[in-house]
């Protein structure tokens, strides 16, 4: 069990600055996901934590013990940090059997034969691969290799488990199974986990918190729900959610108390309690803004439901996919998606009524790209 603190970490490769002032606190027992597109620095951060990379700036602590102090060129060896790492490629040693792979670290630590046997079998059983103990890695399927890699990492009961895109080499079905497996592992062992992925579904489904990376910086740290509901900027909003969020161009005006947004959907007013006041919001001038609208928060009805914030829309196309239906809609110049549960058929150019929920919309300043109005996390029945 351990708490990890990263302070002002900078990493350079030659001239390129790949980690820019990373500050991150991972609490004991957390499942922290580092999320972002490829090349954003999330794997490098993981490798810095593991000790395989040496950052040029910053400090790192595990349970208040200094493990990195770049100013004094101090870097604790990976093996002494009490952690283990599962590589994206699994990195199983091809010349060793499953048992030998898992036992390697214990043998290095000079554990007794009985202890090695016991711990290896325990972790093989945890991952449900004990029947393959004498096979070589190339005699196993991808999913089984994955389990061996995890078994190897947990055999020495590390206080901190690092996982680098562990599911990216598996097929879609296996991935869902392994997600459940990892969640269970986290619960059972209580180990702090740092998990790197570019897959937002993995991040949203498994983590206790997510650190969203962007070009070597951490753009946002929040719970999965927080990140999903209020992505900090347009790029983050675009990245999180499938189907992706709708962006509607609009005009904003802020008088110091109320933000008035004029959009193709109508005019909305937001009180200052819902605004993110530490961001740049021009006062008393009209400025360009973007409304963020999740597709599942667009309700479609065939008859006018007579509710507030209901407008008429035109069906551009509908894409029924069994459990859900994606509907492309247009209102004036604006086009957007709606997500409906179940199989619904619409005709092209059919007229429908669309009910929106302004309190659950995000508003972004178009110029800075930053969030200026929070969406409400929970929707209570009867509101708006």
């Amino acid at each position: 069990m351990s708490k990890i603190v990263l302070e002002h970490i900078d990493k350079f490769y030659g001239d390129s600055h790949v980690l820019r002032d990373i500050n991150l606190t991972i609490e004991d027992g957390e499942f922290m996901t580092l999320l972002g597109p490829s090349g954003c620095g999330k794997t490098t951060t993981l490798r810095v934590i593991s000790g395989l990379e040496k950052p040029q700036n910053g400090k790192m602590f595990i349970n208040d013990d200094v493990v990195i102090d770049a100013d004094n060129a101090f870097y604790e060896e990976p093996a002494k940090r009490g952690l283990n790492l599962v590589f994206q490629s699994y990195a199983l040693w091809p010349h060793m059997t499953v048992f030998e792979n898992v036992a390697f670290g214990l043998k290095i630590k000079k554990a007794s034969k009985d202890e090695v046997e016991e711990k290896v079998m325990k972790s093989l059983k945890t991952m449900r691969i004990d029947q393959y103990r004498d096979r070589y890695p190339n005699e196993l399927s991808g999913g089984q290799q994955q389990r061996v890699a995890i078994a190897r990492a947990i055999a020495s009961s590390p206080k901190l488990l690092l996982l680098d895109e562990p599911l990216s080499n598996l097929d879609a079905r296996l991935r869902i199974d392994m997600r459940a497996e990892l969640k269970r592992l986290h619960k059972e062992t209580g180990t702090t986990i740092v998990y790197v992925t570019h897959d937002q579904v993995e991040a949203l489904t498994m983590s206790t918190r997510i650190a969203l990376f962007k070009e070597g910086e951490i753009a946002q740290i929040d719970t999965p729900l927080g990140i999903y509901t209020n992505p900090i900027d347009l790029t983050a909003a675009d990245f999180i959610g499938n189907p992706r969020i709708n962006f509607i161009n609009a005009k904003g005006r802020y008088n110091g108390d109320t933000l008035t947004v004029t959009s193709p959907f109508g005019v909305y007013e937001f009180k200052h309690e819902t605004l993110k006041l530490d961001e740049e919001i021009p006062e008393n001038v009209e400025f360009d803004c973007v409304m963020g609208l999740r597709p599942e928060l667009v309700d479609i009805s065939l008859e006018d439901p007579g509710k507030k914030h209901t407008i008429e829309a035109n069906v551009y196309a509908s894409q029924p996919a069994g459990s859900e239906t994606i509907v492309n809609l247009t209102v004036g110049e604006a086009d957007f998606l709606a997500l409906q549960i179940g199989l619904v058929e619409y005709d092209i150019n059919q007229k429908v009524f669309v009910t929106l929920h302004p309190s659950r919309m995000n508003v972004y300043n178009k110029e800075t790209g930053r969030l200026i109005k929070f969406a409400k996390v929970k929707h209570h029945a009867g509101e708006e």
Partner: protein
């Protein structure tokens, strides 16, 4: 979108006592750093210093020239040697003629062997030529026969009365003119039979990496076979053809054995042969100067190659998955092309082997294969009972020189290849693990230098460095010692051995080691438990290929040879200068058989001759 971020510079930190202590500990405490340090040091001492030393020696008065340079003392700086070479009445004979000969031979060899090699590659990879399996197992055998062996079999066929004993054709009553038997025509043709392999190996590699879907797409667009070939296939393999061209030019300019065997008898000199004469006689400084010029020539061609290919290299490896390639039907051209291949193999493989074997059994070369002209003398004869007075030595297996040469060859190849391949693995480890880091690049560049140099020129460097005591007598004069020959063989094979080490190490993903280091394994433990077990096979095949290459080497050691150190190759080369070539032939056969056997074993272990370039 976010604005581009201001570029932050790498911070400079104040050097505190604590920081300094930790930094020293980080560097010294890591065995890898120490290995890198010592490797760089050794490479520097073995490559850079000898090279600089030879350049210096070409400007310094040596004892032998004291009388030729009035008023000079030993060790004075002088332009005498360079003037002798480039601006003296002799310049035409000792510089321009050999240079023009070398360039001519390089150009002609390239013009012939590159298209031939490329065509064979295309036939073997992309066409439906019959008998592919058999052909492809044989197509590289001619390359494995040392080029100077082929030169000897050329002589066995074409020798005329000038050589003392006759060749096969002269024996049949044909009058073979000098221009065919010796000189440029012979040299070029023999080299072509050898260096076709460069373009074959490179082009077939490139062709294999091309996805046949690219060609099929052309077909769907309505291109004819000829159009596909010229517009799609050829441009894609062009970089490899260009590489092969440059390699062939550079290698054929630097070759010594073939040119010496086929040129010296009629006074046809190239740079390599002329240079050896100067270095073994004098003024040696002139030889050094020539060697510098040869190195520059080779270096320029190879660097040009890298410049030209550099940007387009990625191009040749477009491939993606190893999809099944659909072969291109040759139609009516099938049989003529097959016949061409068979003739090529006949001329470059069967004929040389046959002629050498047969001649080794003849009493008089060129006198036909009748029973009255056959003898086992060259193999087991005793000079007392020699069937002809022209024989100068005992048959092979009663010949003490042969025994000694066998021993020398075995000693040299075994020791050198063990050391070379060990170093190669380490150097390969450093270059792969240091990819993109300064020491990785530096190591790669240092290792590359011996590759730039023709074998003769390279040994000239060592000759100049070690033919006198060094470090105030700490290193005695090594000329004539086995140690010097060993050293040259080791360093010259560094590029190949480390290339093989590199490809070996590339197969061992760095994560495998990182995983071990996270588990707490130290550097040496990682090497012992992870790297060595995984590198074993690659190491063995790399070792065997180096072994073969050193065992057949002639060019590299020719300058440094003294009778006590004769290897099989050099002994055969010496014997071939005498009237009766049978014993020399027999040695050739022994070497060839040995090479083929070793190569078979290396192949079993997953080695590939094509890597030995």
């Amino acid at each position: 979108m976010a604005k581009p971020k201001a570029k932050t510079k790498l911070p400079r930190k104040p050097l505190t006592k604590e920081r300094f202590k930790n930094q020293v500990r980080n560097v010294v405490g890591n065995p890898f750093n120490m290995i890198v340090f010592f490797s760089l040091l050794i490479l520097f001492c073995l490559i850079i210093i000898p090279l600089l030393n030879m350049i210096q020696n070409s400007f310094i008065v040596a004892k032998a020239e004291l009388r030729s340079i009035p008023g000079a003392k030993i060790g004075d700086y002088t332009l005498y040697y360079w003037k002798y070479l480039l601006a003296s009445p002799l310049t035409k004979t000792i510089f321009w003629e050999p240079l023009i000969h070398s360039l001519l031979i390089g150009a002609l060899t390239t013009v012939i062997s590159v298209p031939v090699g490329a065509l064979i590659a295309w036939l073997m990879v992309r066409s439906d030529i019959p008998g592919k399996r058999v052909l492809s197992s044989m197509i590289l055998i001619p390359y494995m026969i040392p080029s100077w062996c082929k030169a000897m079999s050329w002589l066995s066929v074409f020798r005329n009365s000038r050589s003392g004993s006759l060749g096969l054709l002269t024996g049949l009553g044909l009058n073979i003119p000098d221009w065919l038997a010796y000189g440029p025509v012979a040299i070029v043709l023999v080299m072509c039979m050898h260096y076709y392999a460069f373009s074959y190996i490179m082009v077939s590699g490139a062709l294999r990496s091309i996805n046949s879907e690219l060609e099929e797409m052309g077909e769907i667009q309505g291109a004819s076979k000829a159009q596909i070939l010229t517009h799609i296939t050829l441009p894609l393999v062009l970089p490899s053809i260009l590489s092969a061209t440059i390699m062939t030019i550079s290698k054929s300019i630097g070759t010594y054995g073939v040119a010496a065997n086929l040129g010296n008898r009629i006074g046809y000199y190239v740079l390599a042969t002329r240079m050896k004469e100067f270095i073994n006689d004098s003024p040696k400084g002139v030889g050094y100067a020539m060697s510098i010029l040869m190195i520059s020539l080779a270096a320029i061609t190879i660097l040009v190659n890298q410049k030209l290919i550099g940007t387009r290299k990625s191009y040749a490896t477009i491939g993606g998955k190893g999809t099944r390639s659909n072969l291109i039907p040759l139609g009516g051209a099938k049989w003529p092309l097959l016949i061409f291949l068979i003739i090529f193999l006949f001329v470059s493989m069967f004929l040389p082997l046959f002629v050498l074997v047969m001649e080794s059994f003849q009493i008089m070369p060129g006198a036909g294969y009748g029973a009255d002209n056959l003898t086992l003398y060259a193999w087991i004869g005793d000079i007392e009972n020699a069937p002809s007075e022209l024989y100068a030595q005992n048959g092979l297996f009663r010949n003490s020189e042969f025994g000694r040469a066998c021993l020398n060859t075995a000693k040299l190849s075994i020791i050198a290849s063990i050391i070379t391949s060990f170093c190669g693995q380490f150097l390969g480890y450093i270059t792969t693990r240091g990819r993109g880091k300064w020491y990785g690049k530096l190591t790669e560049q240092l290792i590359f230098i011996p590759y730039l140099m023709p074998g003769v020129a390279f040994s000239a460097i060592y000759f100049s460095m070690f033919s006198q005591p060094r470090l105030g007598g700490l290193i005695p004069s090594l000329y004539g010692t086995f140690a010097l020959i060993l050293l040259v063989s080791i360093v010259k094979h560094f590029p190949f051995a480390s290339r093989s080490g590199q490809s070996n190490m590339l197969q061992i993903a760095i994560e495998l080691e990182e995983a071990a280091s996270i588990e707490g394994a130290s550097f040496w433990k990682r090497i012992a438990k992870i790297v060595i077990p995984l590198a074993k096979n690659g190491f063995l095949s790399g070792f065997l290929l180096t072994f073969i290459s050193i065992a057949k080497e002639l060019d590299l050691i020719a300058i440094l040879m003294t009778p006590a150190n004769y290897t099989l190759s050099f002994l055969s080369f010496e014997y071939s200068k005498e009237a009766m070539p049978q014993v020399a032939d027999a040695i050739c056969i022994v070497i060839i058989v040995f090479i083929l056997v070793c190569n078979r074993i290396a192949n079993r272990l997953g080695g590939d001759v094509s890597k030995s370039m």
